[in-house]
Subunit: 138 residues, 2 copies
DNA sequence: TCAATAAATGCACTTCCATTGCATAGATAT
DNA sequence: ATATCTATGCAATGGAAGTGCATTTATTGA
């Protein structure tokens, strides 16, 4: 069982207080968050720091960016089952039109998509929109 | 064979010179375009007019908006095979990482996506990214 | 035909988010 | 201890979406 510090170091991310806080924040969230969400959670911190921290996490492949069609970038920690570096490992995201939350459905793999001759597929972005379990239960 | 004027009228869109020009511009494009693309094509026209024209076309279901993950909205004319009003008629889009163009693959339908219990799927957005036929041929 | 009405267009803003440059603080290594 | 590199904070920029209002253009009906 690694500590977060050890985990970050193993990914070549230098450990700072801010980065630990942001990591923990992401870890306890069950949904993808926007930069503003993080900003609101850490009002003392500068927006740029948060932005660059997320970008660092993204580069080091411990966070993936999600484009759920709201026009605002969202981010989520990569889980055990999620290997963002590996392009064939693509899961889908669910965006709730009611609560506006976006959830990684890590266990749901994206089916193989055929493209016409001459086209080379490198990446697939799949977002399902609708009503999430929490909202549909109301 | 309808004229464009007749077609627009049949969709309850009032015909204006500007709208005809924008329609023709979209029609001759084989790829999805951004508002800026349209802006550059019609430098004399105001951006707001172009924006609202596109929105009108979208409401009247002769144009569909595409979110290809670049963060910029793109638009394309609905073709014969494309019935955007019908939610089950979802085709996929291909975004070329090389030339940055986005193409509607109208004939490629999106497979049925299963979501977990409690989730209600209303809409699906699928974008495949890679290299398009033109760029891969180089 | 002309006035009254409604829709389309143009201009000026605003807002929101992403991103960058630069100066400073803090950590690392020699 | 100091030189060096990285992280952080502040300020500013830029791009795109969207809105309010005045004006022009088109439509309708008397």
């Amino acid at each position: 069982m690694k500590t977060i510090e050890q985990f970050l170091e193993s990914k070549n991310i230098r450990v700072t207080a801010m980065r630990l806080l942001i990591y923990k924040f992401l870890a306890e969230k069950q949904v993808a968050v926007t930069l503003s969400d993080i900003e609101n959670a850490f009002e003392k911190a500068d927006r740029t720091t948060l932005y660059r921290t997320i970008k660092t996490f993204e580069e080091k492949a411990i966070v993936h960016q999600i484009d759920d069609g709201t026009g605002i970038n969202k981010y989520a920690l990569c889980e055990k089952g999620c290997n963002c570096e590996i392009e064939t490992d693509l899961h889908l995201h669910f965006h709730c039109n009611n609560c506006n939350e976006t959830i990684c459905l890590t266990e749901h793999k994206i089916p193989q998509i055929k493209v016409p001759d001459g086209f080379v597929s490198e990446n697939v972005n799949l977002v399902v929109k609708g009503v999430c379990d929490k909202c549909s239960g109301q």
